[in-house]
Symmetry: C2
Subunit: 99 residues, 2 copies
């Protein structure tokens, strides 16, 4: 289960949403990501850290570079959160069945 506080805080910043759109197209190094913004690398690093803490993205070092990717599982869980709001009380029966 995602920590919705961290997830929505992460999503509340336009720089971070743009990073997500970049990573949707392809995994990328921190430097490549920073290249898409008019902002210092430490600032982008900060945003990447916020995204990482939210679990929306993961990172993996490969040699000198650190590659970032989207964590689709968490996005799916966020979709479920909204689905549960828009679709009243579905799953109620299943919950009870869980004896």
């Amino acid at each position: 289960m995602p920590r919705f506080n961290l997830v929505f805080k992460a999503l509340a910043d336009p720089t971070r949403r743009k990073i997500i759109l970049l990573l949707k197209e392809a995994d990328m190094t921190a430097g490549e990501i920073a290249g898409h913004f008019d902002m210092t690398k430490p600032s982008i690093s900060h945003h990447l850290n916020v995204l990482k803490q939210s679990l929306l993205v993961t990172d993996e070092r490969k040699g000198q570079n650190i590659y970032y990717s989207l964590n689709m599982t968490v996005f799916q869980e966020v979709i479920n959160y909204f689905f549960n709001i828009t679709h009243k009380n579905e799953g109620e029966i299943d919950d009870e069945k869980g004896k």
Copy 2:
């Protein structure tokens, strides 16, 4: 199109997410909502205002009371935002067709 900045900022607070869950069950007055929290009414009023600015909720005065409700349209649009992230480039053809 929703203002994602305002929407995600609104969702980033646990009090506001709990308000959303309350309103999922039934429309409610500001006072009824405040009754569910250990917080002053002005603070809840502030949270309701943030939710209203995000368009996630609407308000309507009925006599002395102001009733709050969820705006399902915006929730659906947020679901679409996530759907577009999880489902790569779908709709691309349609976009081009829009000549």
